[in-house]
């Protein structure tokens, strides 16, 4: 492995003190990777492969800037590929078509292959339908021909997944899980935030939308560089919990909310692994909630041991403790980070449920949920989300969450609010 020279640091934030009879332990674990391997030092990075799926459905021609910007963005991503990174370009319609290389498989980036691929991309045209499951299936087959450690895909779409059922897409996602990481992007005004989140969530990537196609170039380059900056290819969160404990949830809490709970892979009776994909120079927060058998005053137990592992190598380790006390000054203390991420998770739910209710015509639920979302965004200082919400609802009083649904909302604004609902902010230093 190439994680040599990379330092993982983990920090636990929790109130370990519980009153008698209580057994629910919450903790936020912040894991940060840094080191020579991440800053271009002498350490060898893992081998990388990348597949770019470009939507070439008919709607990409309307307006024509979508197709032209998508081509420019793909060219920029190709240009950013380091020599030796294996890659391929797929055109997405109702079926997937391999644009480059000519024969099925991946090809190592060189000056020559990059130029050939860029030329092939300029010939793309917009015609046909949208079936993202087909595109992902082809990407999966292409990655299967490679032995690269970090496998990264970009999926760009401008519309909804019209030419296959949600079940078909879900089936494909199950087959692709753990095989490669996929970032999904929407461009234009007609994509579905829910679909993009579904794909990114299953394939451990990020989801976002860009109303203006001009932003694609920078975004594609950044995603490619991030993939090539991964220092450890396969990282898992390993969780030990004591006998008699129940895991209420394990969530990624930053940079975006991702419920990992159902992804547990049993290692032993008390140990489970949760795949996290590849790590670069980045910092992520995890929120863990474990229920342990209630102790008596003075008892102390280990409620969880949270490790980051690559294979059998332990990259970082944190202890989550429970101490029972009759000192209420201790047991009633609220940990700021735990409270903050509890709020951020509620914020994501409120936005998603509010938008779904709005789409279904349930004005009352939509107003209540989106009002709560506005309130939570204000409280946590999540200004980006507050701005997005203000395009969907008219904010009367953010502090109380009093809002009115806007009558005229650009479709893309609701989808942007949806796709970015899972993005979180960290606690502001002032409030800690």
């Amino acid at each position: 492995m190439s994680e040599q020279g990379v330092a993982f640091q983990a920090e636990v934030f929790q109130n370990e003190y519980l009153p008698a009879g209580a057994g629910v332990v919450d903790a936020v674990i912040t894991v940060t990777a840094s080191g020579a391997g991440l800053t271009g030092g002498p350490v060898k990075l893992p081998s990388t492969a990348q597949v770019i799926m470009v939507d070439c459905s008919g709607s990409m021609a309307d307006p024509p800037t979508k197709m032209s910007e998508a081509k420019r963005a793909t060219a920029a991503a190709i240009d950013a590929l380091r020599d030796g990174v294996e890659f391929a370009i797929v055109a997405g319609r109702a079926h997937a078509e391999l644009v480059y290389p000519a024969s099925r498989g991946l090809v190592a980036a060189t000056a020559k292959t990059r130029a050939e691929a860029t030329r092939a991309v300029t010939r793309l045209d917009a015609s046909g339908g949208t079936a993202m499951g087909q595109w992902l299936t082809m990407a999966n087959e292409l990655f299967a021909t490679s032995s690269a450690e970090v496998r990264h895909a970009i999926l760009l779409t401008d519309g909804r997944n019209q030419h296959e059922t949600p079940e078909q897409l879900a089936q494909v996602l199950r087959r692709c899980e753990g095989r490669f990481v996929c970032d999904s992007r929407g461009v234009g005004a007609d994509w579905s935030g829910t679909e993009l989140r579904t794909i990114a969530s299953a394939l451990l990537g990020t989801a976002d939308g860009l109303a203006d196609p001009a932003g694609l170039v920078d975004d594609f380059r950044a995603m490619t560089e991030a993939a090539m900056g991964k220092a450890v290819a396969q990282v898992s969160l390993r969780l030990w919990t004591p006998a008699g404990a129940t895991i209420r949830f394990v969530k990624q809490a930053f940079p975006h909310v991702e419920d990992l709970t159902p992804r547990r892979r049993e290692v032993s009776a008390r140990v489970g692994d949760y795949d996290l994909g590849a790590w670069g120079a980045e910092s992520r927060d995890y929120h863990l909630c474990v229920e342990v058998p209630p102790g008596t005053i003075g008892d102390e137990m280990l409620a969880a041991r949270v490790s980051l592992v690559a294979g059998d190598e332990v990259l970082s380790q944190s202890l989550v403790r429970a101490v029972w006390t009759d000192d209420t000054a201790l047991s009633t203390r609220i940990n700021q980070r735990v409270a903050h991420y509890t709020g951020q998770a509620e914020l994501a739910d409120a936005i998603q449920e509010g938008l779904a209710a709005r789409e279904a015509g349930d004005v009352q639920t939509a107003t209540a949920k989106l009002g709560r979302a506005v309130q939570l965004a204000k409280e946590s200082g999540h200004t980006d989300t507050a701005k997005l919400l203000a395009k969907v609802v008219e904010v009367v009083d953010a502090r109380t969450g009093t809002v009115r649904l806007r009558q005229k909302v650009a479709g893309v604004d609701a989808e942007l609010a949806n796709v970015r609902s899972v993005k979180t902010v960290r606690v502001r230093p002032a409030s800690e």
């Binding site: 004591p242 006998a243 008892d299």
Partner: protein, 379 residues
């Protein structure tokens, strides 16, 4: 790792260090006295029996009186909560997560001429008291520590402090230091160990313990203490027979003792004003030397015993005239019969010491028991 051990607290020290990083002991003056490997028992009570151990093995020890000591420090082999035998490196049970304690629920230490018994009592879930006894030539030592139950992991502080202090006393006395100097060094070692029990992040409520120790020589009894564990003089013959009267030799570091008995009616009257631990404001030991006019016994104990009979005369009447071990066991039994509301620790040392009945190291006995009784939940 350094080649040397701190003579006060047995922490490893680097070759060039002038002061011990753990306890602040002046190493330069020790170096002048010659290299010293120190006692084997360290400040942190690791797994495995910490005692008995002959003090200061090596060539330097030959010229010194041999020391023998025992302590209650003993990390259990099986988890007290679930019986599993595997513990993680951080000291938690790998099966049920419960923290591994520092000592057994009940321990009896027997060096023949002196003995000690410590017991969990009937109300507490863990024995947070700790005790050590030892002999150097014809001098006897005892250390009793009572973990402050409002602190985190008090048993780690008390066990660490008792083990470190006992080893330090033995070491200092074997190097012909005065009892007062030995007690000062032992207190420093105990404070270092209690501080180490807090780990790297002491938090707002780090492990804390009381501390009392005694050196019994043929000419005097010397006691030192921080907190409210006590030492009592119990004469063999009543005062009207011409001997020294039964008396408590220590004065509690409590609000009531410091500001007047009137305050003892307040709930805070028994609150400690001094203790050992990472957050201790003042850890200088109180010192007292006492020369009895006749034979008797020194009782060193925690409040688990004296809360039922605080008066010295009553305790003198209560302690049976048996050998030290059965007498100490009887006092513990008495406290249990009174309700056993707290952990109970009793050490009994004869005055004048009688080296003839001191047992050699290989016959020193430690009896441990765990979960010998259920915690009594109703009054």
């Amino acid at each position: 790792m350094g080649d040397r051990l701190c003579p006060a607290c047995a922490s490893a020290v680097a070759a060039g260090d002038a002061y011990c990083e753990a306890c602040g002991q002046d190493l330069a003056s020790e170096a002048a006295a010659g290299p010293d490997p120190g006692p084997a028992a360290g400040p942190d009570a690791g797994p495995g029996p910490a005692a008995p151990g002959p003090a200061a093995p090596g060539p330097a020890a030959v010229a010194r009186p041999a020391g023998v000591w025992l302590t209650s420090a003993d990390a259990p082999e099986a988890c007290p909560a679930c019986g599993a035998r595997e513990f993680g490196p951080e000291g938690y049970c790998e099966a049920c997560g419960q923290r591994r304690g520092s000592a057994a629920d009940h321990t009896e230490l027997d060096l023949g001429t002196l003995a000690a018994v410590t017991d969990r009592g009937l109300r507490h879930h863990r024995n947070e008291d700790a005790v050590g006894i030892g002999t150097v030539g014809d001098r006897l030592v005892a250390v009793v520590c009572d973990g402050v139950s409002s602190s985190v992991r008090p048993d780690a502080a008390s066990t660490g402090a008792a083990a470190a202090a006992t080893a330090a006393l033995i070491d200092a006395l074997s190097r012909q230091q005065s009892p007062v100097d030995a007690i000062v060094a032992a207190t420093r070692a105990a404070q270092a160990a209690a501080t180490l029990a807090a780990g790297a992040e002491p938090g707002s409520n780090p492990p804390a313990s009381t501390f009392v120790c005694a050196v019994v020589a043929d000419d005097a009894i010397t006691v030192g203490w921080v907190g409210d564990s006590r030492a009592y003089w119990l004469p063999d013959h009543p005062a009207d027979g011409g001997g020294s009267a039964a008396t408590c030799l220590t004065v509690d570091d409590t609000v009531a003792a410091r500001y007047g008995a009137d305050l003892s009616v307040l709930a805070s009257g028994e609150s400690l004003v001094r203790w050992l631990g990472a957050d201790a404001p003042d850890t200088t030991p109180h010192l007292r030397s006492f020369t009895p006019s006749g034979p008797g016994r020194l009782l060193v104990c925690s409040d688990g015993l004296y809360k039922y009979r605080p008066d010295a005369d009553q305790l003198a009447a209560l302690a049976p005239r048996d050998a030290p071990l059965p007498a100490a066991a009887a006092l513990v039994r008495f406290a249990l019969d009174c309700g056993g509301a707290d952990n109970i620790t009793v050490a009994l040392l004869p005055f004048p010491p009688d080296p003839a009945v001191t047992v050699p190291a290989d016959q020193a006995a430690t009896v441990r028991a765990r979960d010998s009784k259920e915690v009594d939940q109703d009054e």
